[in-house]
């Protein structure tokens, strides 16, 4: 069965066509700069095997981009048998992947605004596919679903109960698809059944980032909260903040919420601290400047790493004793310095990093812990599209909709 996985960003659509259950990739790519015209033209970067082609074209909407992607696949004689959609926020309504039906789609409308940047394009694309490709089964897979096992006392904010109930306020957690995927891969590497696996998964992307505490294979905590704003210092998101600061900004900006949201989501984090770049690799790239005194880069780097270290300790305690720490995504997979600093001097938890293995790591997955370290430190490439495809296949199999 060929499953086409669609991962809608605010102005992009990543896709991957896989045969399941063999897990072979047929093609993949990304439609970039969807929406209003920007300084560079919109395009689709399409890959089949080792061959990559770039197709500049107007891409006004995600729906239009999707049709063009299907055309590119058709030219290569490929067509999907089913569609999998990544939906960032499933709210309280979706705790499992869901086969799209008219009833499910109505429920999806209700969670549309929970992630205003990510949910609307995915839901609009699902609607389009329902209309134009009705014969293709569709499954929505939710980033929040893995975190539905977070226990009540961990997901509860200390707010009045009536307010919590009225606004459905709770910790949802995000990056669940990635955390689940790398945890399953790490458990295999460690030779431990997932149901007995305790770990801390560090999804450190160049944009968003979160840590997840995993106990017996299930998520029990995530640094992100009700929204993806809480937690670590991210590229342009502030992460943890005293709520009183938001109230101060409300007064300062005369209640202009658009401006406050813009500041906290798009002008803070690494960008706000450094004043130069939203990408922590740019800060690390200028290591001499970053380590000199009284430098804004130095402060950015210290705050960024300190926050990860604090959460790592918190989750090693919560899920402890853990068997592994997992690093993944752009920063987690590629920046050895981040792994080295956050794992340093954590002997209390049994974390012993091998500096040489860490520095010289070339191939993923890799183990960068010292021999005899009670906690294995694993670097695993995330593959959200494959994780989604697995869940789509599993869901359709349960619904007897798989045609081999």
């Amino acid at each position: 069965m060929n499953i086409l996985v669609c991962n809608c960003g605010s102005s992009s659509l990543k896709y991957r066509l896989l045969t399941m259950p063999e897990e072979n990739e047929i093609s993949s790519g990304e439609a970039q700069r969807i929406g209003p015209v920007t300084s560079e033209p919109a395009r689709i970067v399409h890959r089949e095997g080792d061959r990559e082609t770039v197709h500049p074209m107007d891409l006004a909407t995600h729906q239009q981009a999707f049709h063009e992607i299907l055309s590119l696949l058709a030219k290569g004689g490929k067509r999907p048998d089913a569609l999998g959609h990544r939906v960032v926020h499933g709210g309280r309504l979706f705790e499992q992947p869901a086969v799209i039906t008219p009833t499910v789609f109505e429920a999806l409308r209700q969670v549309r605004e929970l992630a205003p940047l990510h949910n609307p394009p995915a839901i609009d694309l699902i609607e389009e596919c329902q209309t134009r490709y009705a014969s293709l089964p569709q499954v929505a897979v939710f980033d929040t679903a893995f975190h539905t096992t977070i226990p009540e006392h961990a997901r509860q904010y200390a707010l009045p109960l009536d307010l919590v109930q009225e606004l459905n306020i709770r910790k949802y957690g995000f990056h669940g698809t990635s955390h689940q995927y790398v945890a399953e891969e790490a458990a295999k590497m460690a030779g431990i059944p997932m149901a007995e696996f305790n770990a801390v998964s560090c999804h450190l992307g160049s944009g968003g980032a979160s840590l997840c505490a995993i106990s017996k294979g299930r998520s029990i905590e995530n640094t992100m909260g009700y929204t993806p704003l809480q937690g670590l210092v991210m590229s342009t998101r502030c992460g943890d903040l005293d709520p009183a600061i938001v109230m101060k900004l409300l007064s300062l900006y005369s209640g202009d919420m658009d401006r406050i949201e813009d500041v906290l989501n798009r002008r803070s984090g690494v960008l706000g601290l450094s004043g130069a770049s939203a990408d922590i690799r740019d800060i690390l790239g200028n290591w001499d400047a970053a380590t000199s005194r009284n430098n804004r880069f130095q402060k950015t780097l210290q705050i960024y790493l300190w926050r990860i270290r604090k959460y790592l300790g918190a989750y090693l305690t919560l899920a402890g004793p853990v068997q592994a720490i997992i690093f993944t995504d752009t920063i987690g997979e590629n920046v050895s310095l981040v792994r080295s600093v956050v794992c340093a001097n954590q002997n209390y938890f049994g974390v012993c990093l091998d500096e040489k293995s860490n520095r010289e790591l070339k191939q993923l997955p890799g183990d960068i812990s010292q021999a005899g370290s009670p906690v294995r430190i694993l670097v695993v490439a995330t593959n959200e599209e494959l994780a989604i495809a697995r869940q789509v296949f599993r869901t359709l199999s349960l619904n007897n909709e798989v045609k081999h």
């Binding site: 006392h153 509860q156 904010y157 200390a158 707010l159 009045p160 109960l161 307010l163 606004l167 306020i169 909260g225 009700y226 929204t227 704003l229 809480q230 210092v233 992460g239 943890d240 005293d242 709520p243 009183a244 600061i245 938001v246 109230m247 409300l250 300062l252 209640g255 919420m257 949201e261 500041v263 906290l264 803070s268 690494v270 960008l271 706000g272 601290l273 402060k299 210290q302 705050i303 960024y304 300190w306 270290r309 604090k310 300790g313 918190a314 989750y315 090693l316 305690t317 919560l318 402890g320 004793p321 853990v322 001097n345 954590q346 002997n347 209390y348 938890f349 049994g350 009670p374 906690v375």
Partner: protein, 356 residues
């Protein structure tokens, strides 16, 4: 030395009198229905008279202040210039500083030649590392260049850590280098202390952030505050009231509760509140261990410090469960049972710099 301590809480002045030779206050009270300079001046005159009637003269006065910003990094002997220095902090703590200045004026007018010392809860945190103090914001472009994280129970933490060092010395243990100081007050707070230096604190730029309190929310996703503005159409005052007066453990329990009640009771209706508090505390302890690189001692203080009897064993068990180090783990535990008034009096008695 006869010492009077004064503590301004929500415009009410609490007082304690320590005659020479007494470590505990011999009489105490609160100025009821006294608000502002004139009421306080009258109340203080009555206090002075009462002291004199008992055959004593007040020889030193200590006042607890919540916020000292980056100006007041140590206990402060009040002089003619102090008022101006305090006024410069008014924008940072607009509800607190102006009232404090009025109280100081009333004290100086009533007790003309008596040395008056100010003790700031934030002083203990003055030299906390930048990486802990700062939020991931561009504070200059936001027009908040002084925005930083403080702690708000510095007097308790400082006294508790000193007590732990003293006890460990008397018991023949090593100096506890890496400590978690947990202040069990209505707004609880945890600090990681490396030697004598705080390196991590749960509170934020205000005491609202951090552990959930009796009526305060503690840590929240900033997105929730924005949701309250968008969906409920609430302004800053309504939000502040909800987050500081109607939230916390009482918000979860659905009725007013005290921290010690939540920690000690078996009442099933308090189970969720207790579990939320313990969970947040455990996470903060884990963060503290990570930044300290280990743990030697846990120290409890605050008015609900006796609840450490219930909380301590649970916490030790959870922290030991996460331990995978090579040597045997020993976590010492200490409890400071002094109230804030005793801590202020001790500061005056024992600080050579103040007595000189």
């Amino acid at each position: 030395m006869n010492i009077m301590t004064l503590n301004l809480i929500s415009s009410r002045v609490h007082y304690h009198f320590f005659p020479s030779g007494h470590f505990e206050s011999q009489w105490s009270g609160c100025m009821e229905n006294a608000h502002g300079f004139e009421d306080w001046r009258i109340g203080l005159a009555e206090l002075r008279q009462r002291t004199q009637n008992g055959g004593h003269t007040t020889e030193a006065i200590g006042v607890r202040l919540v916020h000292g910003g980056s100006t007041f990094r140590n206990p402060w002997l009040v002089t003619a210039e102090t008022e101006v220095e305090l006024q410069s902090l008014s924008a940072e703590a607009p509800l607190h500083i102006p009232a404090t200045i009025e109280l100081i004026r009333a004290i100086r007018e009533t007790y003309c030649n008596v040395p008056l010392f100010l003790f700031f809860e934030t002083s203990f945190f003055a030299d906390m590392p930048e990486r802990e103090c700062h939020y991931a914001l561009d504070v200059n472009s936001l027009g908040m260049p002084n925005l930083r994280r403080y702690g708000y129970h510095g007097l308790f933490h400082e006294a508790a850590c000193a007590m732990a060092r003293d006890c460990s010395h008397k018991q023949g243990f090593c100096f506890p280098e890496r400590c978690l100081s947990i202040c069990l007050e209505t707004r609880p707070e945890i600090v990681a202390v490396d030697g004598i230096q705080p390196v991590m604190v749960s509170s934020g730029t205000t005491p609202l952030e951090g552990l959930p309190g009796q009526t305060t929310a503690g840590e929240l996703d900033a997105g929730i505050v924005m949701k309250l503005v968008r969906k409920k159409k609430w302004g800053p005052e309504q939000i502040n009231h909800a987050l500081t007066m109607e939230s916390g453990l009482s918000g979860i329990a659905g009725r007013p509760v005290r921290l010690d009640e939540v920690l000690e009771s078996d009442d099933p209706s308090l189970r969720l509140a207790r579990d939320v508090f313990r969970h947040r505390l455990l996470l903060a302890c884990g963060s503290g261990i990570a930044v300290l690189g280990g743990l030697d001692a846990i120290i409890f203080s605050g008015r609900y410090a006796p609840s450490a009897h219930y909380l301590g064993p649970w916490l030790q068990e959870r922290l030991k469960r996460a331990y995978q180090g090579r040597s045997e783990l020993v976590i010492h535990e200490y409890t400071l049972s002094h109230g804030i008034d005793r801590i202020l009096a001790d500061q005056i008695r024992w600080r050579p710099i103040l007595n000189s």
